[in-house]
């Protein structure tokens, strides 16, 4: 039913959904004052971009890009998968460094709230 009602929207619903999730993540990164929340937002943002890539690789009726014995089988596009494999690792690396920083900040200031940090810095 939705197919007929909103054809343009429906054709690309995956991308639109990815965009919505991206925006949620981006909003968390900018607006949330808690440093861990910022990193969570970063993770959501990045994963949404990965979703965007993976969506683009899908093909109607395609199978996973592992060679099968059936010569007629259609494979989905493997290249975005590779890019995203790399990007996932990049994401986890960034998260790890970010978390390490958060720990050090907590040790140094006793808080991980941005506004409290700013207040403490202003006091010094």
């Amino acid at each position: 039913m939705i197919e007929t009602l909103l054809p343009g929207l429906f054709l690309r619903y995956n991308y639109y959904m990815a965009v919505i999730i991206m925006l949620i993540g981006l909003y968390a990164m900018i607006a949330k004052g808690n440093l861990i929340k910022k990193i969570i937002g970063l993770n959501i943002f990045q994963t949404a971009i990965f979703l965007f890539y993976i969506s683009s690789s899908d093909i109607i009726g395609g199978t996973a890009p592992i060679l099968t014995s059936d010569p007629a089988s259609v494979y989905v596009n493997p290249l975005p998968h590779v890019l995203i494999l790399t990007a996932i690792v990049v994401a986890v690396s960034t998260t790890a460094v970010g978390l390490a920083l958060v720990i050090r900040i907590y040790e140094a200031y006793g808080t991980i709230e941005e506004d409290e940090l700013i207040a403490m810095e202003a006091k010094e």
Binding site: M17, I36, N43, D58, I60, L85, T95, L99
Partner: protein, 81 residues
């Protein structure tokens, strides 16, 4: 590609994402983030991206969550927003 199934997963994702950034207890937020990653992995598996799905399940839902929890254990669970 079953669009109803995809759509349901997408909805879950959006809900998880919103929940993860709005829950005040950081541990809950992190766990919800793990769930989010897992749903993402399922979605990708459904999109035939098995390798990526595998990796996301292991890295996104696994290692990342563990690192978050470990970091929380050394900082605080509470968040002001």
């Amino acid at each position: 590609m079953i669009w109803e199934f995809n759509f349901a997963l997408f909805l879950f994702l959006v809900i998880c994402a919103i929940a993860a950034i709005s829950v005040r207890n950081l541990l809950s937020a992190v766990v919800i983030l793990g769930v989010y990653s897992l749903i993402m992995a399922v979605l990708w598996a459904e999109m035939q991206a098995v390798d990526v799905s595998f990796t996301e399940a292991a890295v996104g839902a696994g290692i990342t969550t563990i690192l978050f929890v470990a970091a929380l254990s050394r900082t605080t669970r509470r968040s002001k927003d």
